[in-house]
Subunit: 453 residues, 2 copies
């Protein structure tokens, strides 16, 4: 058995600034459009649902944005997160590749989501917001914002996709333990929810519907703002602490990644790890391959279209240009709930379109097999979402075994699987299948994309 | 909101030796007796079920016992574990007390149990053992040994108390993800299990029964040893890493505890934190109050009798002198499964009898209330077992608020509650009650204690 190889930074090495890739993009992002006028929006249009500081970050072109001291003070509970070399996994694979992983499951909510939840709660608190409405799918984001609400004394109201609400009662229990309110979506508490229920009384919900409900609550209540756990620029910005720390840790290891891998649902954990490395490439030319891994049953980057689309079902959000399967598309019920979203972060979409990110997809059975191989070697049970990154890392390491190349692979282990054990039970019991998305449903959803300009 | 105050040691500060309190006891422990002859046993009597190195540790009088390098190498994945000052909890309580906690939930299996599981798996592997049989109640120990088995390539067979097996399928899923086999106890795979089932076909099991099954498997199979997750001297020895690290961390904090608090089921997490401090007191006179907290529904130290008793139901284990409620006593089904044991570690019992440990008990409702108050302040959802330690720490901090004393309180947060969320759901839903044990059942169990000498 091999040694544990862990690279741990001292607390003072928690980044003092987030990294904003907007400053280094070879071409600027296409503008965000108003859902009604379809004209570019300004800060005022967003002020109904977001605090000013968050809107500034969303639109900022500054490369470095200071992390407020109270946010760093909370980060210190679990950051800097460890970076491990997966020596035991390398041995099990018999590969000459060097595999590293950054472990974000050490946050008290169990994933990287806390990095942005803490920041967003802070800015809301600073501007006197008393309540934040949000949505959650698998529950990682809802738990993280519930944690942040407890620490900053803000009421948190989470619209949780109904199927997850029913299948994952323990994520709900965690949110409620932190004092948050958790509502199954679609609900009868919002117009958007009631409209869905009128047409589909048995709707099991979707992220798109839950976003509509939370945005509606924020728009209609003066004391309430909205928070999103992925997709938007400011969320990706907050997640850059992952990659900034990882760059220092790779330096401690005396190594540099040939490739950086993350799973992608909305794009935030992937971007969090990859963008600081990609920024380095854009500025200095130091080459790194960035691999975005998505589920084959929700193949936004690999099978979707780059187009203006809504972030939600009721079309309350602004229009953003992104890879999308159409806001009307409801992904099938595979177990990586955090990856079940029709769209993709505009920045990730843009960079993929520019050829700077390589997307790929895997099916869920091979991802669970990879996750279990990882757990046996490294001792950590990963979240089903993270299993996608592991699958790709193992795939690359196996290619190295064939070619004899000793490539350096770095992936983001974005969270642990403690709240996803039903998925492991199903997999181990042979009850899990690979799911396929309905191609005609995607075709229809894409045909229904809004016409712009 | 207050800063996070975290005391983190560098990897090189992982202890190189465990601390053995046997060397500092003012009076030696009473001998362990053979269950048949009732005469003191020697190493050979234990060799049927334990590896030699473990037996040596069980009987050792050496103060320091070296931690093998491969064990420290695995420890490095999560050790040294952090020590936090609970500043936000102090503020919420409005207490002048300083509250510190050592957090053992950072281990990949989620609790302190991994500290001994890794060591025991190593010694078994070293002596060529191919399989380890063990029991588990709540599943913390079973998960930890499953993890250790995966890392050291040993087959693990876990007899899990049937009621927990049914109520906590996700702990089982975690064990199976690590490759272990998990069997509901009582089972038809052992004589002990079949005997119970013949008399009580609907038995939901107990730790005492599960121990009998695992010991029987180890005794009957040459390639199989047995491992226990608490109670015995060598397990408490392995857990001393907790207190040894905490002593260094309190030094970093420029502080020293007036009191050290841990929950007690078999005694290992309490002893792990408290014994190094207690040893310091025994050697140098530096006073520390050691508070052992047990559930009111299983009040071994506060209501039990100090007597020779068996560790299991079928009376396959040696007789040890300990506080006990009688091996025939089955504790009621409260939610801190790790504290549902009729006996107590002989070393903890002995020191309690000598007046060096202060035991006390709390009911489960007040413990859950304390756990939720802690979660909201500190951001970590604790295991129901650890809530007992938190309850006592808050109680002491509240006493300081009354008296105005700024005492220094240190407690062991032995694990997280990610696999115990049903208990939180029940508590938050108002479905949980305080349970009382059946006094006549305890009286009968105590009347049935073996007569010795």
């Amino acid at each position: 058995m091999s040694d544990t190889v862990k690279f741990l930074l001292p607390e003072r090495e928690i980044p003092k600034s987030w990294y904003n890739i907007a400053a280094d993009l070879p071409e600027p992002l296409p503008p965000v459009l108003h859902p009604g006028t379809k004209q570019p929006i300004g800060p005022d249009d967003l002020a109904v649902i977001f605090p000013r500081a968050v809107i500034e970050q969303e639109m900022s072109q500054e490369r470095e944005i200071e992390i407020p001291t109270p946010v760093r003070d909370v980060y210190r509970q679990w950051r800097p997160s460890p970076l491990f070399r997966a020596r035991r996994l390398e041995q099990a694979l018999g590969t000459p590749a060097k595999i590293y992983y950054k472990y974000e499951g050490v946050s008290p909510a169990g994933s990287h989501k806390a990095n942005s939840a803490i920041a967003q709660a802070f800015y809301n608190k600073q501007e006197g917001v008393r309540r934040i409405a949000t949505e959650t799918g698998a529950g990682q984001w809802g738990s993280s914002l519930a944690l942040a609400g407890a620490l900053f004394d803000i009421d948190i109201e989470v619209y949780m996709v109904k199927v997850s609400f029913q299948q994952k009662p323990y994520r709900r229990a965690m949110m409620e333990t932190f004092g948050a309110r958790c509502i199954a979506s679609p609900s009868d508490t919002t117009e958007s929810g009631r409209a869905v229920l009128a047409e589909h009384p048995d709707s099991t919900g979707s992220l798109g519907i839950a976003i509509s409900e939370a945005v509606e609550v924020a728009a209609k209540n003066d004391d309430t703002c909205y928070a999103l756990g992925s997709v938007l620029n400011h969320v990706l910005l907050h997640q850059s602490v992952i990659g900034l720390e990882a760059m220092k840790q790779m330096e401690m290891a005396g190594d540099y990644p040939d490739m950086v891998i993350g799973c992608t649902g909305g794009g935030s954990n992937f971007a969090g790890l990859a963008f600081p490395f990609l920024g380095e490439q854009l500025r200095s030319g130091r080459k790194v391959e960035c691999i975005a891994v998505e589920p084959s049953a929700c193949p936004t980057l690999t099978k979707g279209r780059l187009a203006y689309d809504y972030g939600d079902t009721a079309h309350l959000t602004p229009l953003v240009k992104m890879f999308t399967l159409g806001s009307a598309f409801v992904p099938p019920g595979f177990h990586a709930g955090g990856l079940r979203y029709h769209g993709m972060a505009p920045q990730v979409s843009h960079l993929t379109n520019l050829g700077l990110i390589d997307p790929r997809s895997y099916n869920q059975l091979e991802c669970f097999a990879a996750g279990i191989q990882f757990a046996k070697a490294e001792g950590i049970v990963p979240a089903p979402e993270a299993n996608h990154a592991i699958r790709a890392a193992i795939h690359e390491a196996e290619k190295c075994r064939e070619s004899g190349e000793a490539k350096t692979i770095l992936f983001n282990l974005s969270g642990h699987g403690h709240f996803d054990m039903q998925a492991y039970t199903d997999y181990l019991g042979g009850k899990l299948k690979d799911l396929v998305y309905d191609e005609s449903e995607v075709a229809m959803a894409l045909a229904g994309l809004p016409s712009v300009g």
